[in-house]
């Protein structure tokens, strides 16, 4: 059904990659799942709860039955459910830890009901709340994976706080989900092309490229970039859509994932643009994949296409190209 790489790492797709197709109502949820299978871009299937499931985290028996039926029909494997740490859902005050534990517990129950073995959580939840959720995760048999996304990386202080808690708690139900956007080698060209097409001056874009490639803390670089743009008289209207790059694409070395691979429960295979020869431009997959293979990772990787934020390219085609690219590299390892 799919190109299965020789090594243990297994491929898949997150339906988040198909946000444009779904939001436009071109494909319903079941249509997306069937097309993922038909296009051979499983076997792993990842879903974002608040995107795909009406009433989430309440999952009706009807929906659970329908989902189970789709899985049986297509042969896909539920790999990960994206859950959210909506700390500021009440604009009047942030969630208390108790409220956050409850908010996450409901989503974990949804993951269990649908048969997802892993839930992707977000770092704003904080180590204290996640520590309290470890026994819940164990009871429900759903692993909690912290998504490590740009500008974070395995050695970032925010991530080290979770690593320290993990070391103390020692639960196999607490893990990590590296996002390859953290360890990119450049900003995808389509991003800058889209910004330029919407009126951002070329000089702002060239300055952004220059700052992105510099060493240094992304916060500091972003502040310096904004300051310099403003000093040069550029409008915030043009600066803000570009300054996102410091939070979307990180420059950490792919090898930095190695020390946490034993605790990885899933991977977000972030990808963007391809050269004509099939090489991905922003993420150096030839450098990334050996790190996980050598580290013995044998779980799933969701191909995650986020270019829908700035382009209308066909998500299915993009994912197929990513799978082909990754399979080819894996086959040569």
């Amino acid at each position: 059904m799919t190109n299965q790489p020789a090594k243990g790492l297994k491929l898949g797709t997150t339906l988040y990659s198909l946000t444009t197709e779904y939001h436009s109502r071109k494909y319903g949820f079941a249509d997306l799942v069937r097309k993922v299978a038909a296009d051979g871009i499983g076997p792993g299937l990842e879903v974002v709860g608040y995107q795909s499931i009406r009433g989430f985290p309440e999952v009706s028996d009807e929906f659970a039955d329908e989902f189970r039926g789709l899985i049986e029909e297509t042969g896909l494997v539920p790999s990960c459910l994206g859950i959210n740490a909506d700390i500021n859902i009440n604009r009047k005050k942030p969630m208390t830890d108790d409220e956050s534990v409850e908010y996450h517990t409901r989503q974990l129950k949804a993951a269990a009901k649908l048969g997802f073995p892993v839930a992707r959580y977000q770092y704003p939840a904080g180590p204290k709340v996640i520590e309290r959720l470890a026994p819940v995760a164990e009871k429900l048999e759903v692993k909690l994976g912290l998504e490590i996304h740009a500008p974070h990386h395995s050695q970032h202080p925010d991530v080290l706080a979770f690593r320290e808690m993990y070391d103390r708690v020692q639960s196999p139900y607490l893990g990590f989900i590296p996002d390859m956007g953290s360890t990119a080698r450049t900003v995808p060209p389509s991003f800058f092309e889209a910004r330029q097409a919407s009126g951002v001056p070329v000089d702002v874009i060239e300055l952004a490229k220059d700052y992105w490639h510099r060493d240094g803390d992304p916060h500091d670089k972003q502040e310096a970039f904004i300051s310099e743009c403003r000093a040069r008289g550029f409008a915030d209207l043009h600066i803000m859509p570009v300054m996102m790059i410091f939070g979307l694409f990180g420059r950490a070395a792919p090898e930095s994932w190695a020390e946490i691979i034993p605790q990885c429960v899933h991977i977000h295979g972030k990808f963007f643009d391809f050269e004509d020869d099939g090489e991905e431009i922003a993420v150096d997959w030839k450098r990334v994949l050996p790190v996980f293979v050598d580290g013995g990772y044998d779980g799933y990787m969701s191909s995650e296409y986020e270019g829908h934020m700035w382009t209308d390219f066909n998500g299915f085609d993009r994912i197929k190209r990513h799978h082909a690219h990754v399979s080819q590299i894996m086959g040569s390892l």
Binding site: Y16, T19, Y22, H23, S24, R25, V48, Y50, Q51, R54, G55, F56, G82, N84, A85, D86, I87, N88, I89, N90, R91, K92, P94, R120, Q122, P124, E147, H149, A150, P151, D179, G181, P218, H219, Q222, E223, D236, L237, M240, P241, M243, M244, F246, G247, L248, H268, E306, M309
Partner: protein, 153 residues
């Protein structure tokens, strides 16, 4: 991670200002507006959908405003119907347990009085906030515009 722009708020923890991101998004349904009557006022009802990748509670709808035929209607003037429940868009900050699913259209009543058949230029601005931001305020301003006719409701 989805909606990565929201992560920027983490980068903005040290900033004092609120940053905003403007983008064009499909919000207005491509169909005629309907004549309608609400709370003693004549106007039109039109269907809109959320410009977000995920469902949001009404507490994360920071602002809705419409411009129809050059006349501006701020949030206080509008009535928002989600699942047949009426809300004033200017008073939703506490509604963190009322959800708007992204595939569901909401209906907005606009007190335009009696509009002709048109077509009329309709512009909408929808401002939303991602709820997983831990500090600062990062607002996404979505905008959409269409020429819409009016049909009998």
């Amino acid at each position: 991670m989805e909606r990565s722009e929201a992560r920027l708020a983490q980068l903005l923890d040290r900033q004092v200002e609120t940053y905003t991101l403007f983008q064009d998004s499909p919000i207005l349904a491509d169909e005629p507006m309907r004549t309608a009557h609400q709370a003693g006022q004549d106007g039109v009802a039109l269907r809109i959908r959320l410009a977000s990748y995920r469902a949001l509670p009404l507490s994360c709808i920071e602002n809705i405003e419409l411009m129809i035929g050059g006349t501006r209607y701020p949030a206080e003037a509008l009535t928002l119907f989600i699942g047949n429940v009426a809300y004033c868009p200017a008073e939703t900050a506490h509604l963190f347990d009322r959800w708007w699913f992204i595939l569901d259209h909401a209906t907005v009543f606009v007190p335009t009085g009696s509009l002709g058949r048109g077509p009329h230029r309709v512009e909408i601005k929808l401002a939303t906030v991602e709820p997983y931001i831990t500090a600062g305020r990062f607002t996404f301003h979505h905008a959409d515009a269409r020429d819409l006719t009016v049909a009998e409701g």
